[in-house]
């Protein structure tokens, strides 16, 4: 029994940029003219010599060393074009590497894009068999799992109906179900769960987790970072064809987000580019995340307050207005929205022109660790179109120094995965003084 499910060493994939017709293979030129067979010949006679020094050479994947153990559920994140899909394509054997090698233990299966290979004229049953055999299952294997597939897809009643009559949801569920019941050792899931309703997504994730428990290895590409954090046991971050970080999903996702959108904790808007409302009533001017001393910073301890400071201009004293902030977690969860209406001194009256500043304090011992993003908006209730907004106006990290203070108390381990870590009050009762409850007689 081998110790790895996937192993790559110095794996690379090179493409030539630009049109195909401009690809150069050396040795097929005569007097500066490319022979027409310069593309055909090297491929037919196993004589391809890629020229890495060519100015059009582009490495989609370079010097990749990765080892995945059986039973790992590895999340793969990275910007578009960072090499994620290229790696998966090489593992699925649909494209060949240009350098190095990869080894896979057992059979590799890919979750196809939904409905690929489904034929609208065929019934659900026929499509299950066809799609299964495209993915390398024998009809015996499909028969064995047929009931499971149908149950999972929840299409029992329609299984002998041509799929062209299916709703898009049924279609998609059946397609996923076939793929999810594939008998393979390594499953590649490339951004296919984006479709489907929430319930079904959850079911799919549960299915994937279960496959992993039964010994499958899963490589999971998704831009949905909360999904990655939820299910993966490990995460790798791709950039420019290389893996630049490898570790626990939480940490990698945080790093991925902060790389793709740098943390702004002290921001001011120039007059001409500042977010301004349509009728030029409001203009946002500045946004800062500051601590209790008033100095802006990016990292806050869970035990200290986070103060959001906003500055804006009132350009004409026309409408009464509300200021609000929306705080979102890195996973995409909206944590809360807060409105200034109860504390604003102008109380529903149009204010005078001028520059205003407000601070909103997020209490200590409230947010859990993680990266938070804040949207800053000024609007009026008089006109729905009259508002000024800046999504992602700022962001900050909440971190835990692991000292036994605050909510943590004497708990030493890593705190639990959740968006909030609020300080709540617990009441306990001694066995002799049970709280009074109504007894049924």
């Amino acid at each position: 029994m081998t110790k790895f499910a996937v192993r790559t060493e110095k794996l690379g994939k090179m493409y030539y940029l630009g049109a195909l017709s401009e690809q150069q293979y050396s040795g097929y030129d005569i007097l500066g003219f490319n022979l027409p067979m310069r593309r055909l010949w090297p491929i037919l006679f196993n004589d391809r010599q890629l020229d890495p020094n060519n100015e059009k050479a582009f490495w989609a994947l370079r010097d990749l060393d990765l080892e995945v153990r059986p039973g790992e559920l590895v999340g793969v994140v990275g910007k578009n074009g960072s090499g994620k899909s290229t790696l998966l394509k090489i593992l699925a054997r649909v494209t060949e590497p240009s350098a190095g090698f990869a080894e896979v233990t057992g059979q590799v299966g890919s979750l196809l894009e939904v409905g690929t290979g489904f034929h609208p004229e065929l019934t659900g049953r026929q499509n299950v068999y066809l799609n299964g055999s495209i993915m390398g299952m024998t009809s015996e294997q499909i028969t064995r799992r047929f009931d499971e597939i149908i149950d999972f897809a929840e299409v029992e009643r329609f299984i002998d109906t041509p799929v062209k009559h299916y709703s898009s949801g049924m279609y998609m569920r059946l397609a996923f179900s076939v793929a999810a019941h594939m008998e393979c050792d390594i499953l590649i899931v490339d951004e296919v769960l984006a479709v489907g309703d929430f319930q079904f997504q959850k079911k799919c994730l549960a299915r994937i987790e279960k496959e992993v428990k039964s010994g499958k290895t899963v490589l999971f590409v998704s831009h949905n970072t909360s999904m990655i954090m939820q299910v993966c046991t490990r995460c790798v971050l791709f950039e420019g064809g290389r893996i630049i970080e490898d570790g626990l999903p939480q940490a990698i996702v945080e790093s991925y987000i902060s790389r793709s959108s740098p943390v702004h904790f002290d921001r001011s808007f120039e007059e001409d580019t500042a977010p301004t409302s349509e009728e030029h009533t409001f203009r946002l001017r500045a946004f800062r995340v500051i601590d209790a001393e008033g100095s802006p910073k990016a990292h806050f301890d869970v035990k200290e307050p986070v103060i959001i400071e906003m500055r804006w201009d009132i350009l004409s004293s026309r409408y009464p207005f509300d200021v609000n902030i929306t705080v979102r977690h890195e996973s995409g969860v909206t944590v809360f929205t807060s409105l200034d209406n109860k504390d604003a001194p102008w109380q529903g009256q149009p204010p005078k022109e001028g520059q205003y500043t407000a601070r909103c304090t997020i209490p200590p011992n409230f947010l859990n660790e993680g990266l938070f993003m804040v949207d800053f908006t000024i609007s009026t209730r008089v006109r729905a179109t009259e508002y000024a907004t800046c999504p992602d106006a700022g962001s900050f990290y909440v971190v835990d120094d692991m000292k036994n203070e605050g909510v943590r108390g004497d708990w030493n381990g890593k705190w639990f995965t959740s968006v909030l870590r609020p300080q709540l009050h617990w009441t306990h009762f001694e066995p002799t003084m049970l709280p009074v409850t109504k007894q049924s007689t």
Partner: protein, 299 residues
Amino acid sequence: MTVADAQDQKPAPEDTALPPPAPDRHQAVHRIVADQKIEGLGIEEIWTYRELIIGLIHRDFMAIKNQTPTAWFWRILRPTFTLITYTILFEQIGKVDFGTGVPYFFVMSAALIPWNIFSQVTLGAVTSIASNSAFFGKVYFPRMILPVVSVTDAVVDFLLTTVLLLALLFYMGMPLTMNLVVVPFFALWAILLGLGCGLWLAAINALYREVNQALGYVIQLGFFFSPIVYPSEAIPERFRDLYHLNPLVGIIEGFRWAFLQQGDPPNLTDLIAFGLTCLFALSGMWAFRRIERVFADVI
């Protein structure tokens, strides 16, 4: 609530324990290396995918079977219209005479059947690659399966038109002889020739997109370089040997002999030409197998 919680609350049918993975699959380590040399024709590998081939052929059959009656009607109408058009064009207007006493309509149809096999297989092979490109970036299987499977459509049309022609010959009181036993051989020959052309063209088309543009024209040219609308005797004597290098000439004359008892019975030349066509088809497989591995990169 985590995903695991959700599952506990509502036990789904798939919650039953998975069967243990088959022991034989687990040990195999597959190594994917850069610049791997390709050997052979990959027939063994295709054999391991036979279930997929059967499944895809089945798909094509079912798709044809489930078609609406209108589609069936068109399937028959299309070749009939072609036939009528050519009959009017070449017999009535062009005054082409085969000099055999057999109605021109039959002489034409006996030739159009193999021609349709050939052209449908060739075109089908090329389009099968383009229309299934959705798989190429996702899942591996020998791509050669696709052109091979696309033969199904041509075979269905062949059977349909053959039955129609036989019925018509019978109705018109023309003799049906034992010559007909050679029809499967000549049909197979036409299929192999179409596959050979189709595999080469499909492979080259991946690298040179111009092929697709030229394809329709080249096929049309082939139509007029074959004795379909005129007898091969119309070719001047000194070019006749050169003309017979076109395997379609042998195939079409074979069909005419089988259906209408015209011309010479099949002889050794036909067998040699058939052998050469087999070699050509194999060369198509050879080329296709070497080029298919760059499909995902270029299509």
